[in-house]
């Protein structure tokens, strides 16, 4: 791999939020705000795939105790600057069982993390979410899907593909739409209680309960 190209990759975390803002035309920020509105003072919150820690900080500002998890140490270095009072774990989402206790969180959050996982990884993580979520707690997942409506699907392919290319140029990262997610949630023993679409249904915010 080219040395210059590697340096571009290494500096990616600083540009990650700009790239993702571009990719979602601001929808990601809206989704994060809506997620943060569910948080109450004293809540124990787990942010899966916390990235640069922007959502973690929103939750801390609402009085929550936040644990952020991300496998990317570069992202976590930025997250620690953005949200110094959160607790961050540099681990893979697949290794939650070794680091987090049963029924220890009131709210478990995730934005654009599930779309980076394979289906087998998704199922594994959802089972871990069920294990670590307190009774009566909720899961909030904001992610990308391919819309079902034909017109929306057309816009998805016409608009999202060039945007994905642009975002890849800026961040060398992009997202992949998740599919069959309701099946995965059911298989993990939970249920989706609310689904809110964003950007013509290209992004969704799911509220899931045990």
């Amino acid at each position: 791999m080219s040395f210059v190209y590697m340096k571009i990759l290494e500096s990616r975390p600083e540009r990650y939020d700009i790239g993702m803002g571009l990719l979602t035309l601001g929808s990601l920020t809206k989704i994060k705000r809506q997620i943060a509105d569910h948080v109450h003072p004293g809540d124990r919150v787990l942010d899966l795939g916390c990235g640069t820690g922007t959502l973690a900080q929103m939750c801390i500002e609402r009085g929550a105790q936040v644990t952020g998890v991300d496998a990317n140490s570069g992202m976590l270095a930025v997250a620690k600057r953005n949200s110094p009072s959160a607790n961050f774990l540099n681990i893979s989402l697949s290794n939650l069982d070794e680091h987090l206790e049963d029924e220890s969180f009131d709210i478990i959050l995730s934005t654009l993390a599930f779309s980076e996982l394979t289906r087998a990884e998704r199922l594994h993580v959802l089972k871990q979410i069920k294990r670590t979520l307190k009774k009566g707690g909720k899961v909030l997942i904001g992610d990308e899907i391919i819309p079902e409506n034909l017109l929306a699907k057309f816009f998805y392919y016409a608009f999202r593909l060039p945007m994905r290319l642009l975002t890849w140029i800026v961040t060398q990262n992009t997202t992949n739409a998740i599919s069959n997610f309701d099946d995965d949630v059911r298989q993990a023993g939970m249920e989706i209680v609310n689904c809110q679409p964003f950007m013509l249904g290209m992004f969704i915010l799911l509220e899931i309960k045990k």
Binding site: F3, T118, E121
Partner: protein
């Protein structure tokens, strides 16, 4: 046929990532005692490794660990192919259920990222296999013992050629804009220079007496500068061509750190920036002449 096409573009654009689906593949008819091999989800490697294992009739489980499409050596050096990622794969794909042993055969070149000690703490025995997967059959038949030949990393001319090709494509993409901006009439000659430097930095670099790749790049400018002085008589043109040649030699020499077996982080960044600042000053001066 599709495999050949994939091989060509994955060689040309080797600087990019080519992921395939992370999974656990049963090769042949493996049973509980079959070996468990580990690799990355770099499509090129997985296709060729799978093909080799099938042709050699090696019944085994192949764990294709998610490194986002980066090859074993780079992924281990970059911290993407790690003990953590291997442990995550073992857990997600329930590998413990597949076999009645705990041995994992790891690629030798994963040594920078995958640590046997940590695997052992989690109940797995990591064994580094041969450098080249084409030695796997012999390695398995010899009771997981490696000969000296299996441990040696050869950086032969064919590998150097492929690396040079990829680096030439990358450098052409990076340099094309400055070339069109500063030397549009000479674009073909400039691109030929890019390919000269990129290939020379792979094919004859070991004959040039410097450790630092930046210096090797600069040394490669010497015959070109001599030729230029021989054929050109216009002093302004001589200065501008010399600036172009030195700039390309410095850039491609410096950038070769990512393409070379000689390693990265040679701390040549400031020196390269200094050379470029010096060349820019000279270029500005030549415009006044």
């Amino acid at each position: 046929m599709i495999g050949w096409i994939k091989d060509i573009y994955q060689t040309l654009f080797r600087f990019a990532r080519f992921p395939c689906e992370p999974e656990t593949i049963a090769i042949g008819h493996p049973d509980k005692s079959s070996p468990v091999l580990v690799t990355c989800n770099f499509d090129y490697t997985v296709r060729h490794l799978k093909n080799y294992l099938e042709k050699q009739h090696i019944d085994c489980f192949l764990l294709v660990v998610n490194t986002k499409g980066t090859n074993v050596w780079c992924a281990a050096a970059e911290g993407i192919f790690t003990t953590e990622s291997v442990l995550a794969h073992l857990k997600v794909y329930n590998v413990r259920e597949l076999v009645n042993h705990t041995r994992l055969i790891l690629p030798q070149l994963s040594v920078a990222g995958v640590k046997r000690k940590i695997l052992k703490e989690h109940g797995w025995e990591g064994i580094y296999g041969p450098v080249y997967f084409t030695d796997l059959k012999e390695f398995l038949d010899n009771g997981l013992r490696k000969s000296k030949d299996m441990q040696a990393l050869e950086y032969g001319y064919w590998e150097r050629f492929k690396m040079g090709l990829s680096h030439a494509v990358f450098c052409s993409l990076v340099c094309i804009l400055p070339i069109l901006l500063f030397a549009s009439e000479w674009w073909l000659q400039a691109l030929l220079l890019v390919w000269y430097f990129a290939f020379s930095m792979q094919l004859i670099e070991h004959f040039i007496p410097f450790e630092r790749l930046l210096y090797k790049g600069l040394m490669l400018t010497v015959p070109l500068l001599a030729l230029m002085l021989f054929f050109s008589t216009d002093p302004v043109l001589q200065i501008q061509i010399a600036i172009g040649i030195i700039a390309l030699g410095a850039f491609i020499g410096f950038d070769s750190q990512g393409h070379s077996h000689l390693g990265q982080n040679q701390n040549s960044g400031k020196l390269t920036a200094g050379i470029f600042a010096f060349l820019a000053l000279f270029y500005g001066g030549s415009l006044l002449l």
